[in-house]
């Protein structure tokens, strides 16, 4: 399972995303986020954009990555239905940006028929990243919509 929506605050959306490694987790979390904003199954992955995101640790990287996806929808007027992530860095936070990722986001121009809900932000409420490459990864995210 890539992600599932769970009970959360009444006016917001909460989901859990999963991955066998951190890259897959980050891809699936972005897919879950995207599925709130658009009818993701109807979005063709015909165009792509590369983005680079930094974070002081893996949790911070995830928060910043999902925030980047939200911003991209506004800036590019695109919806995204697939992501390819490569995370670099696994050292303890010795500097402001110990973790970096390169993401390729696949999608197409935002069409109103695919438009669902504006996501205002990822929140810190119940925000969790758990697991490892051995047992698998899970993230818990609450979105303000």
């Amino acid at each position: 399972m890539k992600y599932k929506f769970v009970k959360g605050p009444t006016s917001d959306v909460k989901f859990e995303a999963y991955g066998s490694d951190a890259n897959e987790l980050f891809e699936n979390a972005a897919l879950a986020l995207s599925s709130v904003m658009c009818a993701v199954r109807s979005v063709k992955p015909k165009d792509s954009i590369d983005v680079f995101v930094e974070g002081k640790d893996l949790q911070d990287l995830l928060f910043n990555w999902l925030g980047e996806v939200i911003a991209l929808v506004d800036i590019q007027c695109m919806f995204f239905s697939a992501f390819k992530i490569r995370i670099q860095g696994n050292k303890p936070a010795a500097s402001a940006a110990s973790y970096k990722l390169k993401a390729t986001c696949f999608g197409e121009e935002a069409k109103s028929k695919n438009s669902l809900t504006v996501v205002k932000s990822v929140t810190y409420h119940d925000f969790r990243l758990e697991g490892d490459d051995k047992s698998g990864w899970k993230a818990t995210i609450v979105l303000d919509i």
Binding site: V13, S115, T117
Partner: protein, 468 residues
Amino acid sequence: MKEKVKRINDFEWLLPKGSRDKMRVDAKIIANDAVFGALEDDAITQLTNVACLPGVIEPVIGLPDMHWGYGLPMGAVSAFDAEEGIISSGLCGFDINCGVNCIRTNLTAAEVRPKMKQLVDALFRNIPCGVGARGKLKLTPDQLEEVLAKGMNWGVKNGYGVKEDIVRTEDNGCMEGADPAKVSSLAKQRGKDQLGTLGAGNHFLEIQRVSDIIDKKFSDSLGVKEKDQVLIMLHCGSRGLGHQVATDYLKSQEEAVRKYKIWIPDRQLACAPANSKEGQDFFAAMKAATNYSFTNRLVMTQWIRETFEQVFGKTWQEMDMHTVYAICHNVIKFEEHKIGGEKRKVYVHRKGATRSFPNIPVLIAGTMGTASYILKGTEAAMDKTFGSSCHGAGRAMSREGAIRRFWGGKIKEELLKKGIESRATNPKVLAEEAPLAYKDVEEVINSVHGAGISLKACRMEPLGVLKG
């Protein structure tokens, strides 16, 4: 936590400060019995979170539309001491200056109904809405800076709206002290092409008819003179720019919490000392985002006027399409209030709450298909709730729950049976905003009226709805 709440009277309830560990002040809830009975325990517990923050002034307020949110409930007001208190992005909400504009007309429901489909279709074409929608305005960097600094003054200077719109807006459509330099380049990138867009979710444009006039004198003073008069309500915020400002400063306040060693009960309540550089930088950026939102709604107001001109063949001035009033309901203000018998300036955080100052309009937009209200602000609100009232009906059902339970196509049919024409970018939007997903707005309004914090002036019902 609900079991610890004590009744004060028919409309006010007390949650004493001993109800949980680290609670510094009492919390108070404004609600009649019907509303109180339906309040979520989680929402009440979250109210106590706010009561734990440094410099918080008694009481923390929960309004009758309050519901479980992220760290604190939507529908909450809290005030903080200027020297000892904090300022918090989370206590304002991500959609900075989400608010409501109300525009009147001299048209009647009988005149508008025959053209309602044409009108809603024309508005849908003229007002960009929906996720990822392209805006019609592309601001240069200098223009955006001016919008952030000067708010509605930029709009009027550039042909959007008139001076009277400014006078009829909270803070005259521009919070002084906004600093565009405190707004990140990412926020500006998001905002430069979004001015004049409606967004999506619970944002909407609604054409309404006056169903009841309760306070004739006050309604008259606003140009709302008779039943069946057509009004328009526009509910929208600061779009991607404001959301990004709130997110940027949530992150910076997370750092501040560690730097200033502030204990917070929920990470989402990250904050900074109000008089710190971090606190004041956020305040200046929040003001800029507030100004963007005021201008966003002004631009759409002008396009609504032009759309009515196209459909009815008269100028908007001939149709008396003037602003009744325009308000914020997610914002932080530095206001003077009487506390412990003396006047003090405090940081009032309203998250899903409307300012309710004596004799100033309070606009409550109901949910899709239900009533909206104009109320009058009161002195009692200054005494009880830091000059605040509710902002809407408040959700009773989660969005997933609503989408599972309701089908957008059926909602559209049901609205049409009630004589309400609707347009949305996607049927799911109608489902998640179905009337039954919200509390009963009449009980919410009865609660604030009964508590005396804002008094009913007139009631409106929808004729046509446009949603992103």
